[in-house]
């Protein structure tokens, strides 16, 4: 019984959102606000069950790991934002979070996106197979000219200008591929919804 009610509710909400395609209207607004509310509530609940209880509260109260008071207090300090007088206190935990992400970014991008990507592009330009040679040449030229396009310390004239021009061609091909894949992604999402409406709700699909 509840399953059937649920499917009808889901279908109603799906149509509410689709009504935006005609124009903005109260049904869409209702659905949109419901969505924001439910997902925020969902998020808060998950934080409680999956982080606060297992990582903070239980070890602190049951196992007596008192050092955990430090992050607890830091976390609470964030809420000083809601007061005028003490809002500066919230900068401490903010600084902690920002510092962590900054450190992590430096290490992650430095290793994964720079050194390893550079290595993957150090390729022999002449090999036994003509296609491999061609591919390696294209990769080397493409990455180098692409980087030249994003080089701002010199006017794009002469050889540099030619390089940048070739670079932009590679960038455009790369954007084209992204466009094609984005179409695929968006259509999949709609397929999912039509599948729900025609299949799960109306039982029109076998």
């Amino acid at each position: 019984m509840w399953e059937t009610i649920g499917i009808w509710l889901g279908a109603f909400l799906t149509l509410c959102i689709f009504s935006f395609l005609y124009k903005d209207n109260p049904f869409y607004k209702l659905a949109e606000h419901l969505f924001v509310g439910i997902s925020a509530g969902y998020w808060a609940t998950l934080e409680y069950h999956n982080v606060f209880r297992p990582n903070l509260w239980d070890p602190l109260t049951r196992e007596g790991r008192l050092l955990l008071i430090v992050p607890f207090v830091f976390g609470l300090m964030l809420f000083s934002r809601f007061t005028k007088r003490f809002s500066w206190l919230s900068r401490w935990p903010m600084a902690l979070i920002i510092g962590i992400y900054a450190g992590i970014t430096i290490v992650g991008y430095g290793s994964g996106d720079l050194i390893l990507q550079i290595r993957a592009n150090l390729l022999p330009l002449y090999t036994d197979h003509w296609l491999t040679s061609l591919n390696n040449i294209l990769l080397t030229v493409g990455v180098i000219t692409g980087l030249i396009y994003f080089f701002f310390s010199k006017e794009h004239k002469g050889a540099l200008g030619a390089g940048a021009k070739i670079g932009i061609w590679f960038l455009m091909i790369s954007f084209g591929a992204s466009f094609g894949y984005t179409v695929m992604s968006r259509m999949s999402l709609l397929i999912g919804r039509v599948y729900f409406l025609l299949g799960t709700w109306l039982h029109l699909l076998e």
Binding site: V107, L114, L123, P124, F151
Partner: protein
């Protein structure tokens, strides 16, 4: 014999590290690059033997990362310090700026409004900061002509900053009286509601120039499409690569990725923006050198150079 004479230095002071003189031998940048690449030709000490490192104080297999980080940090701090001391650092003018100018020019000629959309992220996001700098510049351009400048905004905290920039721009053009507060408006926090609001402005007020700079997501194509249909000249720029395809096809000119930050550094001349841009540029030049040299060496069958770029 000094590397560059003082007279040359003066001529080149606006173009240091990448001087326009083509004499490779006497160029300090190429010397540094050459020495660095020679260093990398030394056989790599990275071994990746499976040894227990739990008692040692340094992981030798990560030496390459250490060298890279120290070099890169040093370069960036160096350039920022130079910029702070007032030394001018050369950045080429981005063609996108001319596109903005032309679009605004056309709008003013026809007496139609200019629309500036600063993306949908908050004011502390780097792309929004860049957008605000460009906004100030656009305000300066339109101020002279009494052309209305509409700035619809998605995040409440962006409003005061945008107001400030527009006001400054008008003042810098000597027209503080032309500033109209109502034209910088908060629309909605909700992505699609915001997009619908901006589309409304495009259809109602028929701006001749749509300038979209900042962080855009799925709303990019909705905005670019409506703007295209109204026949406006559109110039867009974002570092969100996934949204660039839509801007490229529906806009007259698109500022791509890092160009957005280069544009803001060019306009603001702020040391920390200029410094990191120059630092990244130097790193890019070195990477280009590495890629070229690596490809040559690999072709010749010499692989020890490549071994520097393994990470365990």
């Amino acid at each position: 014999m000094p590397i560059i004479s003082s007279a040359e230095l003066q001529i080149q002071s606006n173009n240091e590290f990448f001087p326009s003189n083509t004499n490779v031998k006497s160029n300090p940048f190429f010397k540094v690059l050459f020495l660095f690449l020679c260093f990398l030709l030394i056989d790599s000490p990275l071994s990746f033997a499976a040894e227990d490192l739990s008692e040692s104080w340094f992981n030798p297999n990560r030496l390459n990362m250490l060298i890279f980080l120290i070099l890169f940090f040093a370069v960036i701090i160096y350039f920022i310090q130079r910029a702070k001391k007032g030394k001018s650092l050369f950045i080429r003018r981005i063609a996108g700026l001319d596109a903005i100018e032309e679009a605004v020019g056309r709008a003013t000629e026809m007496g139609r409004p200019v629309l500036f959309v600063p993306g949908i992220e908050d004011v502390n996001q780097i792309q929004t900061v860049a957008a605000m700098i460009i906004l100030g510049n656009v305000a300066k351009m339109v101020a002279d002509y009494d052309t209305p400048l509409f700035v619809p905004i998605c995040r409440p905290f962006v409003v005061p900053v945008a107001e400030e920039r527009v006001k400054e721009g008008y003042a810098a053009a000597g027209r503080p009286d032309a500033y109209n507060r109502d034209n910088v408006r908060y629309i909605s926090d909700e992505q699609f509601a915001y997009a619908a609001g901006v589309q409304g402005i495009m259809l109602r007020d028929r701006p001749m120039a749509n300038l979209m700079f900042g962080s855009f997501f799925a709303e990019s194509l909705m905005l670019a499409e409506t703007g295209f249909l109204t026949g406006a000249i559109q110039v867009a720029g974002t570092a969100n690569i996934h949204q660039l395809p839509f801007f490229v096809v529906a806009c007259d000119y698109t500022i791509i990725g890092e160009e957005l930050f280069a544009t803001s550094a060019y306009l603001s001349k702020e040391p920390k923006l200029l410094g990191s841009l120059k630092g990244s540029d130097l790193a890019k030049a070195i990477i280009i050198g590495i890629l070229a040299l690596g490809a040559i060496l690999e072709t010749l069958g010499i692989t020890q150079f490549t071994r520097w770029f393994f990470i365990e």
